[in-house]
Amino acid sequence: MIEFYLNDQPIRTTEAPASALLDFVRYHEHLMGTKIGCREGDCGACTVLVGELTTDGQKVTYQSMTSCLTPLGNAHGKHIVTVEGINAAAGQLTPVQQAIVEEGGSQCGFCTVGFVMSLTGHSLSEQPATEKSTIAAIDGNICRCTGYKSLERAAATLTAQLANRPTQNAVAWLSEKQFVPAYFEGIPAKLAGLRTQLADAEAKAKALNEASFATAGNDAGAVSTSPSGHAQSQNGHGSSFPHAAHPLLGGGTDLLVQRLEELREQPVRLVFDQSGRRGIRQEAAGRVVLGAATTASHLLESELMRSLIPQLPQYLKLVSSTPIRNMGTVAGNFINGSPIGDLTIMFLALGASITLADLTGATRELALPNVYLGYKRLAKTADEQVTEISFPTSLPGDFFNFEKVSKRTHLDIASVNSAAWLRVENGIIQAARVSAGGVGPVPLYLARTSDFLVGRELSAETVAAANEVMQTEISPISDVRGTVEYKRLLLRQLLLAHFLRFAPEEIVVSNLI
């Protein structure tokens, strides 16, 4: 049983946990304001808000997500908001809706609700609204009619209005200004009630499970408490004991694109809200540890990550879009095994390892480069689940850079991406890790290139020579994202880009031209 609030209505459903929230909203609840554009998270027409009760149970934080890729099971215990849930009575418009209408930001209207929801989500955000942040809120929404300028004008109107939003009790203010209906103020209490009720139910289920499966000898079906405090079992809420082979499902951003039909026909092990799978911490030994359900947005929100990688916001701006970053997990990006996974490429250069747990609870650690055996072939059994990701903390003065080029700069898959980490002392490279995506069957850790760099001078000659090594280490193919020749050239350029960022003084490009 999946239980949540949809707008102001409680929902209890036995629909498949891996079915798309979008289909539930449109075809079960007949809320037709949420539109289907692409079913792969690339257009934003189906954007809804997902509200989650904070651990203290005092308030609900809202994020925009594309409902086409949101597993219904991930709605469990949450507040799902569609446009019908923000509409004011009697045809009145919310300030977001009003701004779009007044600026001519809606033409055919099919994408419009997605923009309305993204901007409403931004209104509910705790971050101050700036011109940039408001535009960033709609970076996952594609409009084919307007050319976006009218939407930018609407966003500017909204930014100005949100300047007056108080930091305390914002929902009351937003409700008074009719950004959201008054019932929003009661949602934290409702979700807290649901949390308690679910915890009780899960405790009973746990007792039952333990009785029924006393011989199973593992804790895969155990009830756990998610960081948000609501309890749930790993298979989606305690209705049945998870079979070991049941697929793991995280944020849905890859699996619901690729395998929706198949997954919704079977039980799955939901990871997104699994206990202890979120959170980013620095351990005494100097390693940074991420829970496997850490999303790209969590990376961005983490002060620790931003202090370690100051350019992280700029890098992550190149990775998918706001709603997808709210959903997609770092571990999911690794395990999807895409040769061009942006986060994978970043973490390869950060020197990351993953911790895998099998059904007995036994764990092992695997260096990220060793995860990839071949195209979408992983050194991981179906039973094993990523529980943690870790990487060594850089020293002050270490270089890190991420580069990505795609046909469209934002919300696109890379033609080639690359990351590099470097430690330099007295002009000599002491340690190096270079990675590249889109140039082989797997996300590549460029071991030979990295090794080559060590002990050499930080100089243009070294870059040129490293490129020669790098070109022998890659095997790009021509496809829709570029020809072999382009990918080789582009990676050469990205290697140069890394070094120009690290040492613009030492690397002079004058004789390029």
Binding site: R39, V101, E152, D412, A464, E468, V480, R488
Partner: protein, 771 residues
């Protein structure tokens, strides 16, 4: 006044096809498509699919009761493949099942045996093999062949422009219901309700009166639903007709991309001759249009290419020839601009080529050759009320063209790894269907006895704001508030024999018909007021819902007048017919007066190229546009901004890729990119030129749908300008779109897969130590 629909759009209350409540008993359809691009259909084994859960029936060509033919211009396109398949994605069978996922699951169980035949994807190869959709056509004025010898400069070259996916966010679809009279009622997401009606009637062997098509609105069309909404409407209708159950067919995004046609790619040869003063004296061009596997609208698109082959320039000697080439790709179709952009891209390439060879800015040639009043186009229509020079000069002044150029040059001198580029793009676009008989429209206007008004026309609302414009025309003509006016759905039983909503002409044609119907009603009501209230007809008017006699309020207002007219049995309904006057065109001589008028404008584009990575941004697009007398600036500005960004997409990131087997590689939104908010120009200024408009434009407000798309062409040439600032020696083919790949490869022409490093002799080492 704002666009009326968005009030509902923002609340998610506007109903699109897939939002229509599902009737009980509805069957869901899925299309089985050809997995090969060309071949003989040997066998189709449906047995496993028929046995699959929920499957009710599978229809093939054999189930079609009428004629299996939906070709609009040329009868060369079956609804369901029979005998042969001609492209990957061609509909072969229609699965009907109780649930949508059951229909899709059953597709995988259909086995088809196709004997492969040779596949052609290149239009020049098709032309060489005589695979033409229609005979080639040539537009000719003067004698270009005799002029070359006297030219001071002659340049030749090749220009290629790619296809473009419409990417309406609402995919294609239709919902059909059997009617008690043995016909069908179809709710269709189409720009051409009459086309769906006519072809469905033909396929079902029914009279057109037995097929009703209703359209509330589209979630985007852009030409993609002009002709290509028809197969889905007809297939759903076939299902409803055969099963006597409602049938719903909605294509998922990837099926839509695989199965529907796109903007036509063109490959063209040009030759341009200039005199010593840089006047273009001769231009020859041969267009090879990639039509795909069936005619669809390709002959008309090809014709519009010829009409726009010289863009906004006067050229006294022109020979323009076009071949519509049959290839094994989905039939390409209408897309905003309808062949015009493809034609303009070639002459702009020719001018750029001349300028680059002569070492002068292209705008020197462009400005000197702009059309002037009464200059003849190659098809002999004169440029009347011509604003080409006004648009250019206004843009140059308002947006400081000279200063911008100086800034670009200065930036480029100061920066090595970043280069700016600049281009000016003038446009001239003819308004009317070039098929003269299509320039007709009707409006049916009811005044209800309470004074409210319902208007039906053939116009389809797809975001362009035509319903708002029509409501405005009705309210203004009747002298009442727009709040009293409702524009009804587009329905073939209310307004018959309509032209599609296309050619930028929808508001003109349907607006004029609305104006006529409302004017007739107004006159009838005022005549009634004369008798009823003993007033002089002269000087009688309705303004702001008040009846005024010589400016003085009479003792009646709109509501009272309407009510009194009703009780005196005055007809409160009017049906008006409008046909654009003075249009004619002889397709045998390719001469005549095909356009009601032309729209002019000029855009200045600046871009910045990251010469390290090959990426770029459009910094500014500044446009001076000839709206005439715009009566809705919000809508009209929206059309300019949206059209221009769509044009930029076509010229930059939107790259359609097929492999040699005719399989679409750019087959989803993750592999086909349209502009997102960050890709839109940082600055997009629109200056409303002070022009009088044209009497054939609705309320003198000129058609605005297609022309702005062509401003996007400037982005291609601005990028080219920037690339050449970094790498003057590059051999840069005229090939759009200018993807980051093409930019980077052009910046570093010496790099090749074999020679992967920095070649010291060619470009020097990449870097040296600054010590």
């Amino acid at each position: 006044m704002n666009h009326l629909d968005p009030q509902r759009h923002v609340r998610g209350e506007s109903q699109y096809l897939d939002d229509v409540p599902t009737q009980q008993g509805t069957l869901f359809a899925a299309v089985f498509e050809s997995p090969l691009a060309h071949g003989v259909l040997v066998n189709l084994d449906l047995s496993a699919a028929l046995a699959a859960p929920g499957v009710v029936r599978i229809l093939t060509a054999d189930d079609i009761p009428g004629d299996n033919q939906i070709g609009g211009i040329v009868p060369d396109e079956p609804l369901l493949a029979h005998g042969h398949v001609h492209f990957r994605g061609q509909p072969v069978a229609l699965v009907l099942a109780r649930h949508e996922h059951q229909a899709h699951a059953a597709l995988k169980l259909i086995k088809v045996d196709i004997e492969p035949l040779p596949i052609i994807t290149d239009p020049r190869v098709a032309a060489a093999q005589g695979e033409l959709i229609v005979p080639p056509r040539t537009f000719k004025i003067g004698d270009s062949a005799a002029t070359w010898a006297s030219c001071a400069h002659v340049f030749e070259g090749v220009a290629e422009s790619g296809g473009q996916e419409h990417l309406y966010i609402e995919t294609q679809g239709a919902y059909a219901f059997p009617t008690e009279m043995g016909g069908v009622r179809i709710i269709s997401s189409t720009q051409g309700p009459t086309a769906v009606q006519r072809h469905t009637a033909h396929v079902l062997g029914l009279g057109m009166h037995q097929v009703e098509v209703d359209v509330t609105r589209l979630g985007g069309g852009f030409g993609g639903k002009e002709d290509q909404a028809t197969p889905w409407g007809a297939l759903a209708a076939l299902g409803a007709y055969c099963t006597k159950k409602p049938v719903k067919l909605v294509l998922d995004r990837m099926a839509d991309m695989r199965m529907t046609g796109k903007r036509h790619p063109y490959s063209s040869d040009f030759k341009i001759g200039l005199d010593k003063d840089l006047r273009i004296v001769a231009y020859e061009v041969t267009f090879f249009q990639n039509a795909g596997a069936a005619a669809d609208l390709s002959p008309a698109v090809m014709e519009r290419t010829l009409f726009h082959a010289t863009n906004s320039y006067f050229v006294p000697n022109v020979t323009a020839t076009a071949f519509s080439c049959r290839t094994n790709l989905p039939p390409n179709t209408a897309f905003r601009g309808f062949g015009g952009p493809q034609g303009m891209f070639v002459i702009e390439s020719a001018i750029a080529k001349a300028a680059e060879e002569l070492g002068i800015p292209a705008c020197e040639i462009q400005r000197k050759n702009l059309l002037r009043e009464n200059d003849l186009f190659s098809y002999r229509q004169p440029a009347e009320m011509c604003h080409a020079e006004q648009a250019w000069d206004t843009a140059a002044k308002e947006f400081d063209l000279a200063g911008t150029r100086a800034e670009v040059e200065q930036f480029n001198q100061q920066n090595k790894l970043q280069k700016k580029g600049l281009a000016v793009m003038p446009i001239c676009f003819g308004i009317s269907f070039t098929k003269t008989p299509m320039n007709q429209a009707r409006a049916l206007v009811h005044i209800y006895s309470d004074g409210s008004v319902g208007v039906s026309t053939g116009a389809v609302e797809m975001g362009q704001g035509v319903n708002t414009k029509i409501a405005h025309v009705a309210a203004r003509t009747l002298g009442i508030s727009v709040n009293r006016v409702k524009v009804e759905s587009t329905n073939t039983t209310r307004v018959a024999n309509t032209s599609p909503s296309a050619a930028s002409a929808t508001a003109d044609l349907n607006g004029k018909a609305t104006e006529m119907a409302c004017a007739a009603l107004r006159e009838r009501l005022l005549r009634h007021a004369c008798t009823e209230y003993t007033l002089n007809y002269e000087g009688l008017e309705i303004r702001d819902e008040q009846v005024l006699a010589a400016g003085v309020p009479a003792e009646t207002d709109w509501e009272k007048l309407v009510s009194s007219a009703f009780w005196k049995r005055v007809a409160l309904t009017e049906n008006a017919h409008y046909a654009t006057p003075d249009l004619h065109f002889d397709a045998a001589t390719n001469q005549g007066h095909p356009f009601a008028y032309h729209v002019y404008g000029t855009a200045i584009t600046t871009v910045t190229v990251d010469c390290l990575r090959g990426t770029y941004t459009v910094d500014a697009l500044r446009i001076a546009h000839d709206f005439g007398q715009s009566f809705n600036e919000v809508i009209d500005r929206g059309q300019i901004e949206g059209g221009a960004v769509q044009g930029i997409g076509w010229m930059t990131m939107e790259e359609i890729a097929y492999n040699a087997e005719g399989r679409l590689l750019s087959n989803s939104l993750n592999s086909y990119k349209i502009p997102d908010i960050y890709a839109a120009p940082k600055v997009l200024d629109v200056h409303f030129l002070d022009t009088p408009g044209h009497p054939k434009a609705i309320l003198r407000s000129k058609a605005v749908g297609e022309p702005p798309l062509m401003y996007g062409i400037g982005t291609y040439f601005a990028l080219r300008d920037a690339v050449r600032a970094f790498q003057p020696r590059t051999a840069l083919p005229f090939s759009a779109p200018m993807t980051p790949e093409k930019v980077l490869v052009s910046l570093y022409p010496e790099f090749s897969a074999a020679e992967t490093g920095w070649n010291a002799t060619a470009v020097g080492t990449p870097a040296s130590i600054a010590s």
